[in-house]
């Protein structure tokens, strides 16, 4: 039992760390894994017993078409015939455009409406009304208004994503504590300084809440929009196309992509929020 005490202590430290980590996080890792496994198992059982016509998750690997899609996400044979990576990217690019526009307009307008009670009273009913309209209902309207499928798709994203940003920003600006406003008034702070030192930092948590809700909605909307706007490259139209051709497992695979991307977008926003928002405001 004459081991190097140094190594032994670090060795037991690592093991100790692993043990405490597992004690703390083990359940957090194991339970979701078990949940997913059971879910997939039930699904597979339902489809193999014939209760549902939907193919089970195993079909993603057994079917040749989906196996190829799984293995070659980056292929590009021109036109609509592209791998799922590119389909997703086209959809994401549309989301990026519409979402950016929504953020700019939503934050800008939200600040204006939040600081001006008169404008707020005038436009609030319109906003409350418009935000109730589902993304799909905007599709025909935007197609008629814009005539161009690409632009119309971006517009649908924009109009879906703008409301939570706008409304949260408005509330954020209205919620600026009276104390801060009073300080600004006594000191006669310039409007520019008030904007950057008081208004924006104070409303920032609300703005981020809006942005985070909006990114999820934007992603939901793009799928809906693409399904209706036939002939565009994108994961939404890919689903529709696969359905038309009765490639059911392709539909399932695309749905996995959509879910994963949505989750990533939400996580990315949460990360950004954590990065930018000062600790004391979270």
């Amino acid at each position: 039992m004459v081991a190097n005490p140094g190594t032994r202590s670090t060795g037991s430290n690592v093991a100790g760390f692993a043990r405490t980590f597992w004690k703390k996080q083990g359940q957090n890792i194991m339970l979701p894994l078990i949940g997913v496994f059971v879910f997939l198992l039930i699904w597979q059982l339902l489809s193999s017993t014939g209760i549902t016509r939907l193919p089970g998750p195993i079909s993603l690997v057994t079917e040749q078409r989906t196996r190829e899609l799984l293995l070659y996400p980056f292929y590009d044979l021109g036109g609509l015939d592209k791998g799922l990576f590119w389909q997703t990217m086209y959809s994401l690019a549309r989301v990026a455009k519409g979402y950016t526009a929504a953020a700019v307009v939503g934050i800008g307008l939200g600040i204006l409406v939040g600081t001006n009670q008169t404008i707020n009273k005038a436009v609030d009913p319109i906003f409350q009304f418009l935000r109730m309209i589902a993304p799909l209902a905007w599709v025909p309207i935007s197609l008629i208004a814009l005539q161009n499928v690409q632009q119309a798709a971006v517009f649908v994203i924009f109009i879906t994503a703008v409301w939570p940003i706008l409304i949260n920003t408005t509330v954020g600006v209205q919620q600026i504590p009276q104390d801060y406003k009073n300080v600004a008034r006594v000191l006669q702070i310039s409007p520019r300084k008030y904007f950057f030192k008081v208004l924006i930092p104070s409303a920032l948590p609300y703005i981020f809440t809006g942005l985070r809700i909006a990114i999820g909605l934007a992603w939901l909307a793009i799928i809906a929009a693409e399904i209706v706007m036939s002939g565009v490259i994108g994961i939404g139209f890919f689903i529709w196309n696969a359905y038309q051709n009765n490639y059911v497992s392709e539909v399932i695979l695309a749905v996995f992509y959509i879910g994963a991307v949505g989750l990533l977008l939400d996580r990315a926003m949460a990360y950004l929020q954590q990065l930018i928002l000062p600790e004391e405001q979270r």
Partner: protein, 282 residues
């Protein structure tokens, strides 16, 4: 600056001589708030004349209208009737010549102690050199004993430290009138006494006019030249003004040994708890 020069040229003048007549004039002031149940008269026929450089404490039961009265000096509020004039000019809006230390500190939580004070200095003296402004900030943070904590943000500061920052911010812009709304109410007894002594020392050096709301008779007796006692609302007014004759600089233990201290104290207690006892059934 003018005021400071005067002080410098006559360093031996007593406080009586230094105070010119009718610096701040509150004349026949009434304040009526419109409420759901009709008009609510908070203040009625308030008259007070404050000399330059005077230290005034305001005492009265909760809700009698102390904040309302001082808000008319700071300019956040206008009297319904009567006038509030500073050097013969009616007060119409808040300004840095009448700086306020707010009831809840009102520090911006996303700025460090230094930045909070800097914002004030920078707003009031936009044309000063950056280095000069920074020096002013450092000087005032050091004055309240916070040189080491200047990079901390308010959530990392204790209540007493926050109040010190608020006082440093208020003094850094050299107001003609300093208005403090129950500045030490939320602090423990020891911190409170420390801050009272610091405030008194700073006031001795800078001699701005101070209006301070308090609930603490001993605090008022230690700090003030005159104690203004208010009757109960609605339609509250100044019931009595008590001269506090202790010579300055004051020493807490010394004045507490003075038999007159207890006469004054009992007189104030009598006013507050017998003649104008708070009606709890209200």
């Amino acid at each position: 600056m003018e005021m400071l020069k005067q002080v410098e040229t006559r360093p031996l003048a007593t406080s009586q001589q230094r105070q010119s007549q009718s610096f701040l004039e509150i004349a026949n002031v009434s304040k009526v708030y419109p409420t759901a149940k009709g008009f609510y008269p908070v203040l009625q026929d308030v008259n007070l004349s404050v000399k330059e450089g005077e230290f005034i404490c305001l005492i009265g039961h909760s809700g009698c209208g102390k904040t309302t009265l001082l808000n008319m000096v700071s300019g956040f509020n206008q009297p319904t009737e009567g006038t509030v004039q500073l050097r013969g000019k009616p007060i119409t809006n808040p300004g840095p010549d009448r700086m306020v230390v707010f009831q809840g500190y009102a520090l911006l939580p996303w700025l460090t102690a230094f930045e909070n004070v800097y914002l004030a200095v920078d707003s009031v003296h936009p044309k000063k050199l950056e280095a000069e402004k920074r020096a002013i900030v450092r000087e005032h943070l050091a004055m309240v004993g916070l040189a080491d904590a200047s990079d901390k943000k308010p959530p990392q500061l204790s209540g007493g430290m926050k109040q010190r920052v608020a006082i440093a911010r208020a003094l850094s812009i050299r107001p003609k009138v300093l208005i403090l709304d129950e500045p030490f109410g939320a602090l423990d007894a020891i911190t409170k006494e420390e801050l009272q002594e610091e405030l008194l020392k700073i006031w001795n050096d800078h001699r701005c006019t101070v209006l301070m709301i308090t609930h603490d008779i001993d605090e008022a007796l230690f700090l003030a030249d005159r104690l203004v006692m208010m009757t109960n609302g609605p339609a509250a007014t100044i019931g009595e003004v008590m001269e506090i004759p202790f010579p300055r600089p004051r020493d807490r233990t010394q004045i507490m040994e003075d038999p007159e201290y207890y006469d004054l104290r009992n007189h104030a207690l009598d006013f507050l708890y017998r003649r104008f006892a708070h009606d709890d059934t209200e």
